[in-house]
Point group: C2
Chain length 530, copies 2
C-alpha cells in the first residue's frame, strides 16, 4: 500500500473510532411510507457514529429512495414482483382507508386492514422467497458478517433473514394488530382490566362495560391471531429454517423491542426489560422556515397559525370533503397551512394556503403555531407533543384511532369523525383547542415530560442497538416466559395439579371418615341392639 493510502486508512480509522468505540455493521429490514421516516432517523444517527448501515429494500418503493446518494447502503432484494402489482396494492390501500375504513368501528377497521394485508401475502411471499432462496444474495449477506439487524416487523421476512444469517436483531414498531405480536411473541403482559387492547381506542380508565368490551376483544384477538395469515408464515418459516417453528417464535427472539411511544403518550402499563419506549426519537428543534412560508406565518399577527396535514399517504380526499374542510378553515382568524395536493377547494378562504409539502416539524415548533390538524399518525403526534401544540385529530385507520384516543384522554386533542363531520364540527373542534387554555396547558405538560428524560429517545434507541452489537445480544433482558408453553405460562398445569391434589385429599378424607364411621359406628349400634 502506498504511504498516502496508509495515511488515509489511518485517518478513516480515527474518524470511525471518534464516532463509536466499536464500529459495527447494521443490516436493516424497513417498512416503506411513514415507518421509513422514523427508522431513517435511527439509521442516520448510526452512520454518523461510524457504523456501516445496509438497508434491504424492494425495487418498487414510495419513500425509500435508494437511487439518491445517501450515507446508507441499499441492497435491492431480487424480486419478480412487477411495479404494476405494487401500484395496484397501493391503490387498493388508498381506496380502503378513504372509503371503507372511516365507516367502521376502530377494531373492525383494524381487522379489515389486516385482511387487506393477508390479501397481499402472495406478493410478500414472492418477495421473501426471492431473498431467502436466492443463494447468491444470501451468501453475500452472510459473508458481510453483520453485527445486528434492525427490523420493522410490519411486513414479515426480516426476522427470518436474521435467523438464517444468525444475526441478533432489534425490532422497531409502534404496535401490531391488537398488540398481539408484543403480547404473544414478545410476552408483554396486558391485563385487560387496565391495559386497553391496542387499536380499539379505549383508555386506561374504563367503565365496567368498557372493561367487558376490552376483555372480549382481548380474547377475540387472542384466538383470531391464530387464524390470521400466521399459519401460512409458520409453514414458510419452518420450511426456510428446516425445523418446525412459527413466525411468533422467530419474532420472539428479538433482543430488544424499540416501541415508538413513551410515557408522555402511553397509559402506564406493565412492560419487560427488553422493551424500550423511544417515542419521538425523530423530533428535533425547529429549523428556520423557507422565506415564503415564514412571510405567510408572520402575516398571521397575534392570531397565529394552524398546521394541517393528513400525512404522507392521504393527499387524496374527495372534493366534497375538501370543500367542507376548507369552509370551516375559512371561518377562523388564524392563517392555515394545509398540506393538500388535490384540486383546490372552491370554498377555500383567503387565510388558507395549500402546499404539496410542508416542513411539518419546523412549523409545529414555530412560536406562532396555535393548533395542528392531524390524521393521528404517531410521527405527527410526537412532533406536536415535542413542540407542545394542541391537536384536532381526524383518525382514519390503523393506530390513528388509538393515538387520538390517547391524546384525547390526556386532554391535548379533540377528535372529529372523518365520515360524519360537518363544517361546524371541525370549526368547533378547532375553536376549542385554540381558545380553551386547558388543551395548551395539557400538551405543554406532556411536552415537559417528553423533554425531561434521563436519556433522549434517539440516544436510547442507538444505545441498545450498539449494546446488542457489543454483547452479541441482550439475553440478560429476555424473560424466561419465552421458554414456557401457553398453559405453563398461565400456570394451568400447576392449577390443575393443585386442584387434583385437593379433590384427591377431600375424597380420601371422606373415604376415611366413611370407613371409620362404618368400622366404629356400626358395632355400637349392634351392641345397643344387642
Amino acid at each position: 500500500m502506498v504511504p498516502e493510502k496508509w495515511a488515509l486508512a489511518v485517518l478513516l480509522l480515527q474518524l470511525c473510532s471518534a464516532g463509536c468505540g466499536f464500529c459495527g455493521k447494521v443490516l436493516v429490514w424497513p417498512c416503506d411510507m411513514s415507518h421509513w421516516l422514523n427508522i431513517k432517523v435511527i439509521l442516520e444517527e448510526l452512520t454518523e457514529k461510524g457504523h456501516e448501515v445496509t438497508v434491504l429494500t424492494f425495487p418498487h418503493t414510495k419513500l425509500i429512495d435508494y437511487r439518491k446518494p445517501s450515507p446508507l447502503n441499499f441492497e435491492v432484494l431480487p424480486s419478480e414482483v412487477q411495479k404494476e402489482s405494487v401500484d395496484n396494492v397501493h391503490d387498493k390501500f388508498l381506496d380502503l382507508i378513504l372509503n371503507v375504513l372511516p365507516n367502521l368501528e376502530p377494531w373492525q377497521s383494524t381487522i379489515k386492514l389486516n385482511n387487506f394485508l393477508i390479501e397481499t401475502t402472495e406478493i410478500l411471499k414472492i418477495m421473501c422467497e426471492g431473498a431467502v432462496y436466492n443463494q447468491t444474495f444470501m451468501k453475500k449477506l452472510q459473508e458481510t458478517n453483520y453485527d445486528v439487524m434492525l427490523i420493522d416487523p410490519v411486513l414479515p421476512c426480516g426476522e427470518l433473514i436474521a435467523e438464517l444469517l444468525k444475526v441478533p436483531f432489534v425490532l422497531t414498531l409502534r404496535i401490531s394488530t391488537g398488540g398481539m405480536k408484543e403480547k404473544h411473541c414478545g410476552k408483554l403482559p396486558a391485563p385487560p382490566s387496565y391495559v386497553p387492547v391496542q387499536m380499539v381506542a379505549l383508555t386506561d380508565q374504563m367503565t365496567f362495560l368498557e372493561r367487558v368490551k376490552n376483555t372480549m376483544l382481548s380474547v377475540f384477538f387472542d384466538f383470531w391471531i391464530r387464524d390470521y395469515d400466521i399459519h401460512f408464515w409458520d409453514q414458510f418459516y419452518s420450511k426456510a429454517l428446516g425445523r418446525r417453528t412459527t413466525l411468533c417464535e422467530t419474532l420472539g427472539k428479538a433482543e430488544i423491542w424499540l416501541i415508538r411511544t413513551y410515557w408522555d403518550f402511553e397509559f402506564p402499563r406493565p412492560y419487560l426489560p427488553n422493551f424500550e419506549f423511544v417515542g419521538g426519537l425523530h423530533c428535533k428543534p425547529p429549523k428556520p422556515l423557507p422565506k415564503e412560508i415564514e412571510k405567510f406565518v408572520q402575516n398571521s399577527g397575534e392570531d397565529g397559525i394552524v398546521v394541517f396535514s393528513l400525512g404522507s399517504i392521504v393527499h387524496y380526499i374527495t372534493e366534497e370533503k375538501a370543500n367542507l374542510i376548507a369552509s370551516a378553515l375559512a371561518q377562523i382568524p388564524q392563517k392555515v397551512l394545509w398540506r393538500h395536493s388535490g384540486k383546490k377547494p372552491a370554498t377555500l378562504g383567503a387565510n388558507t394556503q395549500l402546499y404539496d409539502w410542508i416542513p411539518q416539524n419546523d412549523l409545529l415548533g414555530h412560536p406562532k403555531t396555535k393548533a395542528f390538524i392531524t390524521h393521528g399518525g404517531i410521527n405527527g403526534i410526537y412532533e406536536a407533543i415535542y413542540h407542545g401544540v394542541p391537536m384536532v385529530g381526524i383518525p382514519m385507520f390503523a393506530d390513528q384511532y388509538d393515538n387520538i384516543a390517547h391524546m384525547k384522554a390526556k386532554g391535548a386533542a379533540v377528535e372529529v369523525n372523518i365520515n360524519t363531520m360537518t363544517s361546524a364540527d371541525l370549526l368547533n373542534a378547532l375553536r376549542t383547542v385554540i381558545n380553551n387554555p386547558s388543551y395548551k396547558k395539557n400538551v405543554m405538560r406532556l411536552s415537559k415530560i417528553h423533554h425531561d428524560q434521563p436519556v433522549k429517545p434517539l440516544d436510547r434507541a442507538v444505545f441498545w442497538i450498539e449494546f446488542v452489537m457489543h454483547h452479541k445480544g441482550a439475553k440478560h433482558l429476555r424473560p424466561a416466559s419465552h421458554d414456557l408453553t401457553w398453559f405453563q405460562y398461565h400456570s394451568l398445569d400447576v392449577i390443575g395439579f393443585l386442584l387434583a391434589c385437593t379433590v384427591s385429599a377431600i375424597f380420601l378424607i371422606i373415604k376415611c371418615c366413611l370407613f371409620f364411621c362404618l368400622k366404629f359406628g356400626k358395632p355400637e349400634k349392634k351392641n345397643k341392639r344387642g
Copy 2:
C-alpha cells in the same frame, strides 16, 4: 447587607445553580444498618447537587451517626423509647439470625424474621406516635415545605408522615417479604410461572414442582400479608389521617419505587414505568488501600487474595464455627483478609489476617482479589459484580438466600450452608470459584452488563428524585391498576358477568328449543294419532 455578604450570597447561589437547576428540600425516612449505607450515597449526591437534605432519625441508632459533622441535616424524632429497649431488640435480632434462622428453610426464615418485626411493632408504634402526634415537630416539618420525601419502607411511618405533610415521596428498597409490598401496594405484576416469589431462593428456570411450590408460596404470601401486622398499621394510619385507609394504599401513593437491583442481578420480569432498578448505585472505582493492607495484599504474590466479610451485623459467630472457617482458609494458597471482631480462632493460618473493619469496595476492586466470601447482603453482592469478583455465599437471613440464589443461577457464586458446612465444604467452594474459570467469566459478564447502562444507577436515582421535585410528582408513570379493587384488577367481575351472560343465553336457547319442540312437535304426534 454589607457588600461582602452580598458577594457571598451570589457565590453561594451560583454554586447551587451549578449543581442543579432547581435546588430543593428533601426529607428522608431511612432505615439503620446496611440500608443506611446505601441511601446515604444518594443523599450525599443530592447535597453535592445543592439540595438541602434533612434526615429523620431515632435517638438510638447504630450506623446513622447524626452527632458527627455532616453535609446532611438530622432531625431527631421526639421519642420515649429507651436505649435499653433498642439494645434489647438488637440482641434478640442477633440471636435470631445467628441461632434460629440458619436452621430454617429460606421462606420459613422470612416469616420468622417478619414475626420478629411484628414483635417490635410496639416500639415502632411509640416512635411513630412520638412524631405524628407531636404538633410542634410536625409543624416544624410542615413549615419547611419539603419538595420530596425519600423513604426506606422497611419500617412503617415514613409514608404516613409524607401523607400528613402532603409531600410527594419516592421509595428505596431491595425487596419486601415475599415481594408483597411491591406486588400489592405497588401493583407490580408477578406471574408465578416464571417470577419466583422473592426471598424463597428460587430462580426463573423452575421445574414443574418448583412452579407448584412457587405458586403455593405466592398464594400463601397473598393471604398471609393480610394477617400480618398490616391490620394494626391500617388502623394507625386511618386514625392519624382521619379517613379510612390502609398502609398499603398509603405506600401505593409512592411516585417512584427505586429498587436496589438491576438486570445484571435480577431475572427478567414484568415491571412498571414507576419502578426504577438502580442496583449498585453505591459502587465506586477502588481507592488506594491503607499502606499496611496494601503490603499484606502484595505479599500474596501470584496467588492473590480472598476477601471475607459477613457484613455490618454479623461480627459474632461462635468459636467453633470460627475455627472451622479458619482451618479451611488456612489451606488455600491465597492470603485472606477476614473482617472478624470476635476471639482469634485457634486454627487461624499464617495466610489469614483479621480486621475489625476492611475497605471492602477498594479490596474487591484490587487486581489481586480472586474471591469474595460473603453473607450475601445486596451491597456486598453489588460491589463484587461491579469489580467482577466471584463469590462464595454464606446466606443467613432476609434477602441473603435470594441474593446468593441469583448469583448461583448466573454462575458467579457457590453457596455454603452456614449451619451444616464443614471445613471441607468451605474449602471446596473456595477452590471452585478460584480455580474454575467459568465463575470469573460469568461474574465478568455481569460486570460488563452493569457498567454498560445508558445512565449510571446513582444518576438515575437522583434524576427521578429531582423529577418528582420539579414536576411535583410523577403521576404519568402511575398505572390505573391503583384505582381498581382486587376483583376488578383480576377482571373477576367481568368474567362473572360474561359467564352469567353465557349461562343465560344457553338457558334461553334451551328454553326456546323446548318451547318450539312442545309447540310444533306435539300436534304432529296428535295428528298422527288422530
